[in-house]
């Protein structure tokens, strides 16, 4: 069975500092996508960043970047220059693109950016 694990229930970071959120996953598939979603207190979930498994280059979106280690099945999110608006729940997600395209979400990490 495919699983996604986020081992950090809560984290905090000082404004302008850098923080890394961890995610590991388990799958026997070779074709898949990984995502980080952000869910602010207003609860609308939005995509932060996406990584295709066949790409070796780590995805980057402005202050957000990932460290994708395919062999280790690790997919961490780095947030640079943290801002107060980054305070939210962050969910790691996996989709198998060779099967039913079912999304599997991790349990989330609650990130609080401190002023």
């Amino acid at each position: 069975a495919q699983t996604v694990t986020q081992s950090q229930p809560e984290m905090s970071v000082q404004e302008a500092e850098t923080v890394t959120l961890s995610c590991t996953y388990d799958t026997s598939e070779s074709n898949y996508y990984l995502f980080w979603y952000k869910q602010p207190p207003s609860r609308q979930m939005i995509l932060v960043i996406r990584q295709e498994a066949y790409k070796q280059q780590n995805a980057t979106e402005n202050r957000f970047s990932v460290n994708f280690q395919k062999a280790a099945k690790s997919f961490s999110l780095k947030i640079s220059d943290s801002q107060l608006g980054d305070t939210a729940m962050y969910f790691c997600a996996f989709i198998d693109t060779s099967g039913t395209y079912k999304y599997i979400f991790g349990t989330g990490t609650r990130l609080k950016v401190l002023a």
């Binding site: 996508y33 995502f35 979603y37 207003s42 609860r43 609308q44 979930m45 939005i46 995509l47 996406r50 969910f91 989709i95 693109t97 039913t100 395209y101 079912k102 999304y103 599997i104 979400f105 991790g106 349990t107 989330g108």
Partner: protein, 112 residues
């Protein structure tokens, strides 16, 4: 581009009552998902549609939950009868085949 619409935004019912939620996905998105998100947890997939066909409903409690997507566009999720443990936010999302998911604002259900 309009986002995913959901209604109602909030609903309070008593246990054993029925409730229905509505979702209008982004135009052109063939895949539609319903998730249940209990406070403090990640979203749990209830059902996934590809057009008007069900792709995955393995985690849908079929004795009380039902969902349909007529004409491959709008979808409704129904709970009948509701239990206290059904209190949660129900999220609808849509996507192109393997693209990113676009989420609606959710419906917060409280069962008393």
């Amino acid at each position: 581009e309009a986002g995913v619409a959901q209604s109602p935004r909030y609903k309070i019912i008593e246990k054993r009552q029925s409730v229905a939620f509505w979702c209008n996905p982004i135009s052109g998105h063939a895949t539609l998902y319903w998730y249940q998100q209990i406070l403090g947890q990640g979203p749990k997939l209830l059902i996934q549609f590809q057009n008007n066909g069900v792709v995955d409903d393995s985690q849908l409690p079929k004795d009380r939950f039902s969902a349909e997507r007529l004409k491959g566009v709008d979808s409704t999720l129904k709970i009948q009868p509701a239990k206290l443990e059904d209190s949660a936010v129900y999220l609808c999302a849509s996507s192109l085949k393997e693209g990113k998911q676009y989420f609606g604002p959710g419906t917060r259900l409280t069962v008393t």
